[in-house]
Symmetry: C2
Subunit: 103 residues, 2 copies
């Protein structure tokens, strides 16, 4: 047994990506952010579908069509493969813990 909120360092200079499940067809990751956003250089354009939920903190996801979603605790979103998106804001004050399912 483990806890999704454990082992979060107090300083998070770069986003932390940790694999929880990895099979040929499925990847589950914990992502921990604190103020980070997607690289300025571009959009995520993923081969997999992604289902993502925010478990603490908050994050703002923008899609290439301009739609923006602020995800607070418990909010989740499904991102289809190749639906270009980026994270334009995450909480500066607390760790944002995301659980992402790539499938």
């Amino acid at each position: 047994m483990a806890n999704i909120f454990s082992n979060i360092p107090s300083e998070i200079p770069i986003e932390i990506f940790q694999e929880i499940i990895s099979t040929e067809k499925l990847r589950v990751e914990r992502i921990v952010s604190k103020g980070q956003t997607s690289p300025d250089t571009g959009w995520y354009d993923q081969d997999d579908n992604e289902w993502v939920i925010v478990l603490s903190g908050y994050g703002v996801i923008e899609f290439i069509n301009g739609d923006r979603f602020t995800l607070n605790q418990g909010d989740y979103l499904n991102i289809q493969a190749h639906q270009k998106h980026r994270v334009i804001e995450t909480s500066m004050n607390e760790a944002t813990v995301w659980l992402a399912i790539f499938y």
Copy 2:
């Protein structure tokens, strides 16, 4: 966008199972319990692996070898296919929200 904690009725006479993602290889469910336990008649014996996290409340999972795990908020567990288990307790005082990934 939706929230994992929304649409929880105040009375939960029977456990609520809701599919969030369903593909040939993956099923993600929200399960909401309030005091329920597994049927007395037996153990869960699943063809799929299950990864489960408690997002509110708590639940106690027992394995057939006698191991017991109390899952509080954020605790997660991986249950291999055919690893017989059951839920022997869930919170009576608040809704226990589980997120389960069957893969």
